[in-house]
């Protein structure tokens, strides 16, 4: 089990992405790095914002790691939400594209481009559910 998010989790996730034929095809025209910001929820054990970063280009995840918040601000895309909202995404309880349109996940960057790549986004979400995951403050 890997703690979500952590270096271990993000590495497992990267490997799943790169092993996915579906993502390779759906993300073929995607170019841009993405910072996922897991906003602090101090009362639930997430003391400060955590940021995971994926360098996704042409259907391949070239790099993936946890980064500092200020580095995340330089990413081409940033998607942020409270940690527990991300938990809903990983558990498959929240469709991320719907979540973005409803303001539950906040996007910085070209939202229409994300929507155009909805198949890739869905596969990315599907792959999160394949990582053996343990959540912070999970009960």
């Amino acid at each position: 089990m890997a703690l979500f998010p952590s270096e271990e989790w993000i590495t497992l996730y990267r490997d799943l992405i790169n092993g996915s034929e579906e993502y390779r095809e759906a993300g073929r025209t995607w170019e841009g790095d993405i910072a996922f910001v897991f906003e602090a929820e101090p009362d639930r054990g997430v003391a400060e914002d955590l940021v995971a970063w994926l360098d996704l280009r042409n259907g391949i995840c070239h790099d993936a790691r946890m980064i500092e918040a200020e580095q995340g601000a330089r990413a081409e895309y940033e998607i942020r939400a409270p940690y527990s909202r991300w938990r809903e995404v990983v558990l498959g309880d929240l469709d991320p594209v719907k979540g973005m349109m409803q303001g539950k996940l906040k996007v910085r960057g070209d939202l229409p481009n994300i929507v155009r790549h909805v198949r890739a986004a869905n596969e990315l979400v599907h792959l999160t559910t394949q990582v053996p995951t343990e959540f912070i403050g999970a009960g």
Partner: protein, 346 residues
């Protein structure tokens, strides 16, 4: 007379200045019973708004009419009155349509050249132009201290809740439980809100908010969006009132409002910039109502009535009562947030 004057950035003092006089026939001179230090006075105190050394300051006051010009009809010497912080002409299209904050001749007391170079109300006497418009007689049963805020922050809170279109049972989130938020909470409750959530990071403010019936949410300890979702079945608040006036506060308001909900922006903005996903706002069908400065005159009669009936209680907000001579201490206490509201008595 004695008055608080601006000396330099971070420094006010009380000194002798000339008594104000009737300049225009619609003027009144008010002997100030109590004045208050307002958050917007701090803009001048910090040098963020222009005030020349030696200029008087302040705009929240209650007192007794001392003299009136020949055109004044609605108030007379001896009347107990509260002063509007917006000094309006009462005669332009905007004033005649209840939008006195948009008056063609908009002025403020104690705001230097920015407010039309009128004297300040933190003084023994203050000149109030167009007295028939800018003074409200205080009902006998409402004491000075309870009436004071009707000229500014209390009515601003009533206005914010009033324009929000609160339906019975609505959940209202107030972002910022400072003085305006404190009154917006009470006005929202009086306006039929089911639950009022107060979002702030200052424990003292949250205690005050809870005292007047809000559910306190400490945004340093909790994620605001998650906390509001928990109390609204995951939807978000029906109405959100931004009573702060900062980019993070505005974004927080957008985070916690439900789809189809309303955000009322009553906190003061100047040059803030945020990136906006207009398509997301559009899809969420959010109403954002920039309330601007409160048109006090259109709302203060219902505000003072709410004070008279006890629907709104200003008392818990007042932390310090000082003689006018201690104004410098009052500014220091308020500026460092050791005071929630400071009253000055000449």
């Amino acid at each position: 007379m004695r008055a608080v004057v601006y000396r330099d950035v971070g420094r006010v003092e009380v000194c002798e200045v000339p008594d104000p006089e009737i300049v225009e026939p619609a003027d009144a001179i008010v002997r100030v019973g109590i004045a208050a230090i307002c958050g917007s006075d701090l803009h001048f105190f910090h040098g963020k708004a222009p005030l020349e050394p030696g200029e008087t300051i302040g705009h929240e006051a209650v007192g007794v009419v001392e003299a009136v010009g020949p055109e004044v009809r609605r108030v007379a010497p001896g009347d107990r009155v509260v002063v509007s912080f917006v000094i309006a002409c009462g005669d332009c299209w905007f004033c005649l349509n209840g939008q006195t904050q948009l008056c063609e001749d908009f002025r403020n007391l104690g705001a230097g050249i920015f407010g039309g170079s009128l004297g300040g109300a933190q003084a023994e006497l203050v000149r109030v132009p167009v007295a028939d418009v800018n003074l409200l007689r205080v009902p006998d049963e409402v004491q000075d201290e309870r009436a004071l805020f009707v000229g500014d922050i209390l009515t601003t809170g009533v206005y914010a809740a009033g324009v929000a279109g609160i339906s019975p049972g609505d959940t209202v989130a107030v972002v910022g439980a400072g003085p305006v938020g404190f009154f917006a909470i009470q006005a929202a409750r009086a306006g039929g809100a089911g639950e009022v959530l107060a979002l702030d990071l200052e424990p003292e403010r949250l205690v005050l908010a809870e005292r007047v019936g809000a559910v306190p949410i400490d945004v340093r300890a909790r994620n605001a969006q998650t906390a509001v979702d928990e109390r609204t079945g995951g939807r978000g608040a029906d109405v959100v009132i931004d009573a702060v006036g900062s980019a993070p506060a505005f974004e927080r308001a957008l985070d916690v409002v439900r789809r189809g909900g309303t955000v009322v922006v009553v906190g003061m903005y100047t040059s803030e910039v945020i990136p906006a996903q207009i398509g997301v706002w559009w899809t969420r069908a959010i109403t954002v109502r920039f309330a601007g400065i409160c048109p006090v005159h259109a709302w203060w009669e219902r505000a003072i009535d709410a004070v008279r009936t006890g629907e709104i209680d200003p008392a818990p907000l007042v932390s310090h009562r000082l003689p006018l001579e201690d104004a410098a201490l009052g500014y220091e206490l308020f500026d460092t947030r050791r005071a929630t509201k400071v009253l000055l008595r000449p």
